[in-house]
């Protein structure tokens, strides 16, 4: 078991390393985005980049070998010692090794060039992560009980009108793309009925508004998850309900309720619980459109903001974040199966 866990973790780390490397190199292949701002801020930016080893500076202008000139102190009053400096990009591979060096030694993932000029990209992500997590926790708290309850209900009334109605609704909500649901929710609840704010309340608004602001995002995120849990629970429970040991339990004289609560539900929960944990991690990256449409300052909205403002450092970290989140979720899912279900012995020799 532990051998399997370690093996899975190592594999995930290698995967993460390869993916992040590819992402970094692909981002570096894009044309360099010069930050826009006051000369002194720009100078501060390039000096910091120099320390990190992404940029190189010369006392004379270089004609060949270093690409376009990024920045020069010539003609500005930034130089105190009389020497003018010319800044160029280092070769991409050199930057790549320095990047890993900085990440591993200083936990520095790059500097923002547009969203918050000269701020560290990781700090921007850090300041936005709590908002995303907050919404996701609420959405999980709402969707897990509702989804599982609906799923159990549908499974118990299998092939009856109740089941058909629930299944149809689930089918519709799973098929309809989330942005349509979000748009309609905002239009209907915020603008027509005026129940909730039409966009995420900012830091200065009243507590009541802040609480009301949670409703639409949580609803938008929950619909999909509720349907997912419902479908999953129904399928699992239906399978368990038709198994022989449940028939045996009934024959032994247990009532239907006893059968369901003591035998069916417990076994059906085995695959459901890990999926809840994985979903909680995974949902973080799925709310990009929601955060964009509802102006939520989370990491999903940041992704769109970074693309639009061409802040590639922040974009890179945001993508790294999504990759790490989804990898963690899959590792978590695989490992928790093994812990929760004693029948599953992963990594054991397959004798079949």
């Amino acid at each position: 078991m532990w051998k399997y866990v370690v093996k899975r973790l190592v594999l995930a780390l290698i995967t993460a390393f390869i993916i992040l490397s590819l992402t970094y190199l692909m981002m570096k292949l894009l044309p360099f985005q010069r930050p826009i701002g006051m000369a002194s801020d720009q100078w501060r930016y390039y000096e910091a980049q120099l320390d990190y080893g992404y940029v190189i500076k010369f006392a004379t202008e270089q004609k060949e070998g270093y690409g376009d000139l990024l920045f020069t102190t010539e003609g500005t009053d930034l130089v105190k010692d009389g020497n003018n400096w010319y800044y160029y990009q280092r070769p991409i591979l050199e930057q790549y090794f320095n990047f890993w060096g900085n990440v591993l030694t200083k936990w520095d993932w790059g500097t923002s060039t547009a969203i918050q000029f000269n701020a560290s990209a990781m700090s921007i992500i850090g300041s936005r992560l709590p908002v995303s997590i907050g919404i996701n926790i609420w959405s999980v708290l709402v969707s897990v009980p509702l989804g599982i309850a609906l799923g159990i209900w549908a499974a118990l009334k299998k092939n009856k009108p109740t089941d058909h109605i629930i299944s149809t609704i689930v089918m519709v909500f799973i098929s309809v793309p989330s942005f349509i649901v979000i748009s309609l929710l905002i239009k209907w609840l915020a603008f027509d009925l005026k129940l909730f704010p039409s966009q995420w309340p900012d830091a200065t608004s009243t507590t009541q508004n802040k609480i009301l602001g949670y409703f639409i995002p949580v609803m938008a995120l929950s619909f999909g998850s509720i349907c997912g849990y419902c479908r999953f629970t129904r399928a699992e429970l239906c399978e368990v309900m038709s198994s022989d040991y449940l028939l045996l339990a009934r024959t032994k004289g247990l009532t239907k309720t006893q059968c369901i609560t003591r035998h069916a539900l417990r076994n059906a929960m085995v695959p459901i619980v890990p999926s809840i944990l994985a979903e909680f991690i995974g949902i973080l990256s799925g709310s990009m459109i929601l955060e964009n449409l509802y102006n939520i300052p989370g990491i999903g909205g940041l992704f769109v903001l970074a693309i639009n403002s061409k802040d590639y450092s922040v974009l890179m970290v945001d993508m790294a974040m999504f990759t790490l989140i989804s990898l963690t979720a899959s590792v978590f899912l695989d490992i928790s199966y093994g812990f929760i279900d004693p029948r599953i012995r992963m990594g054991a020799k397959n004798n079949g």
Binding site: I19, P177, F179
Partner: protein
């Protein structure tokens, strides 16, 4: 050994002995060979059986039929519908969906407009004493307005209100807050109407002055409010923005008689000056130590307790003694649209779709049914150019009783004038747009004579239609036919889905076959590769591809195919594992069959059904991914797709919800029917998976 004795026991337990010899047996059939008999029932194949199972699943069949209809429509409509969707049609914006003739009340090209601002210059009173005002002609032409309701006082929430209520360069808006405590800073900041200047790096050594021009007279119930001027500034290296109140002006305007519309431009104004407003800022120790980063001016129109306050401001002028580059030398309001007013609930500024709205504003509003087709295509006044008129003359749509050839030796300009003055319209021609020629103006400047023909024209003929067009889904913000846009978009999306499916399926099949058939080390290495690849979120791959290669059809396919084949590969691999070690395969191998025969004759045919049906659900997910990417702003730049249409129309969600509803409905329909169809197919081919969706 002629006879053999046999013993048997019958059902009652008695033993019997019988003796049999060869002659006891005789062959019944000696002349005929025995062959296998044909089955009484019809033989069935795996596929036929699966189809039978599929047909039993009614919802899947329904899904399949809807899918088929949508597919046919997406191929037919772009060909049948001849409207051009690649250029903008400025006269046909936001037409409502129309399937039936106007007046049917349903899907007839009309919109119900509520609380539109009224043009109070023309008052209509009916017999019962109700007062009616028509809406502003420029926004809603009178000819398209029907079922007008009596005017009432209401909020000016309509997007056109800001433009209509700026009179003579003055904005006047009433605040509806009547019961607020003006000593309460919170209430003031909630209800005050605020104007912010942009941030500017002020020079502390310079002398600045701001002059507000406000009304000094007011009419009953209007123009009563106090003003105050504040400065928000940020010192260098300090994160926080600080605010200093510079000056407060209490309202002492004089009451005069008159109505808003008549007198507003003649009301007297006064100037409020605030000079040298940087003194207090410069005194701040933070600023003194580190210097000023930037500052902005804030002008607040304070609400008046227990009365409806309003705002009447003509201009705000900033001046500097030395600094000539100051960007807001004159921020006077040329029209009311430049005014940004505060949103009542949240602290933000409402600038939806680029139009400023008036909040806290009260005025006369009316509701009515607005026929968008009549407004765009009805008989209306247009000014035609000379070249267009000459074109119509050539086509024979209009003629003149004055023969120009006879008169050409005289003064040419005079003769031409006479010629055009006698123009007559041939009303019998069905293409002739002109109803009547109203006026011809001739202007001569610099030796060039310009003719302008003011005519009443049939709008639709003038725009080149032979008869009044009908747009089933209406038109969008560029005047393009939404029906065609949606189905051209659907065609793109489906094409994208099918092509991606084909490519991914091929790659996945080959990859999975190799993994599954050979197994062992080959499988292990290839599996690790797919493990790593499938760890990358699709959104990351998509973004990287689009940023590096630009957003077009082939980039999308490339990005989708990058990880799309993994699912097919893993299903293929499982299927190969399943059939590789079956007895019949082993038997075939023992008989000397090679790899190709084993793969193509024994394994693939059995596995194919499951592989295809499990992979087909890739198509809706590709369509979904494309729409998502478009929503994030990385969609196709040169093609129409459902996602692009949806994201372009997102801004009109409130003003024109049908623009979102129709594409959404089609999108939802295609996703639902694809999922139903795909699940049905999978259940049919693989009954053991049934119910797991």
């Amino acid at each position: 050994m002629d006879k053999k004795e046999y013993i048997y026991v019958d059902s009652s337990g008695i033993e019997h002995k019988i003796a049999l010899e060869e002659s006891n047996f005789e062959l019944k059939q000696q002349n005929e060979a025995i062959h296998d008999q044909k089955f009484k029932t019809k033989p069935t194949t795996f596929f036929k059986d699966a189809l039978k199972r599929f047909a039993k699943n009614k919802s899947s069949v329904a899904g399949g039929i809807i899918l088929g209809i949508l597919l046919v429509l997406s191929l037919l409509i772009p060909v049948i519908d001849t409207n051009n969707i690649d250029v903008s049609h400025p006269y046909e914006l936001f037409l409502a969906p129309k399937a039936f003739n106007a007046g049917t009340g349903f899907w007839d090209g009309t919109k119900k407009i509520e609380n539109a601002p009224c043009d109070t210059s023309k008052k209509i009173v009916d017999e019962a004493g109700n007062v009616f005002y028509y809406p502003f002609e420029a926004n809603y032409p009178k000819r398209a307005v029907s079922k007008l309701t009596p005017a009432k006082v209401g909020y000016l929430e309509d997007a056109t209100a800001a433009a209509n209520y700026g009179y003579a360069n003055i904005i006047c808006v009433k605040s509806t807050a009547t019961d607020i405590d003006i000593t309460d800073e919170e209430a003031i900041s909630e209800y005050a109407t605020v104007f912010y200047s942009q941030n500017y790096a002020f020079d502390l050594t310079d002398t600045y002055k701001v002059t507000l021009t406000v009304l000094d007279e007011h009419i009953e119930g209007f123009a009563r409010c106090d003003y105050r001027v504040l400065i928000d500034y940020k010192a260098k290296t300090v994160d926080e923005r600080k605010t200093v109140t510079l000056k407060e002006f209490s309202d002492d305007s004089k009451l005069v008689a008159g109505a808003v519309n008549d007198t507003i431009s003649t009301l007297k104004t006064k100037k409020l000056e605030v000079s040298n407003f940087l003194e207090e800022v410069a005194a701040d120790p933070d600023v003194a130590a580190n210097g000023l980063e930037n500052a902005n001016l804030r002008i607040e129109m304070l609400p008046v307790a227990n009365s409806q306050s309003s705002l009447a401001i003509r201009s705000i002028i900033f001046e500097a003694e030395n600094d000539t580059s100051i960007p807001f030398t004159n921020l006077g309001f040329d029209n009311a649209n430049q005014m940004i007013l505060k949103q009542p609930s949240a602290r933000g500024y409402w600038t939806s779709t680029g139009t400023k709205k008036l909040y806290h504003g009260l005025g006369y509003v009316c509701s009515f049914v607005y026929d968008t087709y009549e407004a765009a295509y009805g008989v209306q006044e247009r000014t035609l150019s000379l070249s267009l008129v000459n074109e119509y003359v050539e086509k024979g749509w209009i003629s003149s009783s004055f023969n120009i050839d006879d008169a050409l030796y005289n003064d040419a300009a005079l003769e031409l004038d006479k010629y055009y003055k006698t123009l007559k319209t041939d009303l019998t021609d069905k293409y002739c747009p002109i109803v009547s020629m109203k006026e011809i103006t001739v202007t001569t400047s610099g030796g060039i004579t310009a003719y302008q023909f003011i005519c009443d024209v049939y709008g639709y003929k003038w725009l080149g239609y032979a008869e009044m067009p009908k747009f089933l889904f209406g038109t969008d913000s560029t005047g393009n036919d939404l029906l065609k846009l949606v189905f051209v978009g659907l065609r793109t999306s489906l094409g994208l889905g099918l092509l991606t499916f084909a490519i991914c399926f091929t790659i996945g099949l080959v990859w999975g076959s190799i993994c599954g058939y050979f197994g062992g080390t080959v499988d292990l290495v290839m599996e690790r590769f797919t493990d790593i690849l499938s760890g990358i979120p699709w959104i990351v791959i998509m973004t990287l591809c689009i940023l590096n290669l630009g957003s077009n059809f082939f980039t999308f396919i490339l990005a989708m195919c990058m990880t799309g084949w993994i699912r097919t590969a893993s299903i293929t691999r499982t299927q190969f594992y399943r059939f590789r070690d079956r007895e019949y395969t082993l038997a075939s191998r023992t008989l000397g069959a090679g790899h190709p025969r084993l793969i193509f004759r024994h394994i693939l045919p059995n596995a194919m059904g499951t592989i295809i049906t499990s992979s087909i659900l890739m198509i809706p997910s590709v369509i979904f991914s494309e729409a998502t990417i478009s929503y994030l702003g990385l969609g196709f730049q040169d093609m129409h797709s459902l996602g692009v249409t949806l994201s372009q129309n997102q801004t009109y969600l409130l003003t024109n919800p049908v623009l979102i509803l129709f594409p959404s409905a089609i999108m939802a329909l295609i996703m639902i029917s694809f999922n139903l169809f795909g699940n049905g197919l999978r259940d049919a081919f693989n009954p053991s998976l049934k119910g797991s969706d």
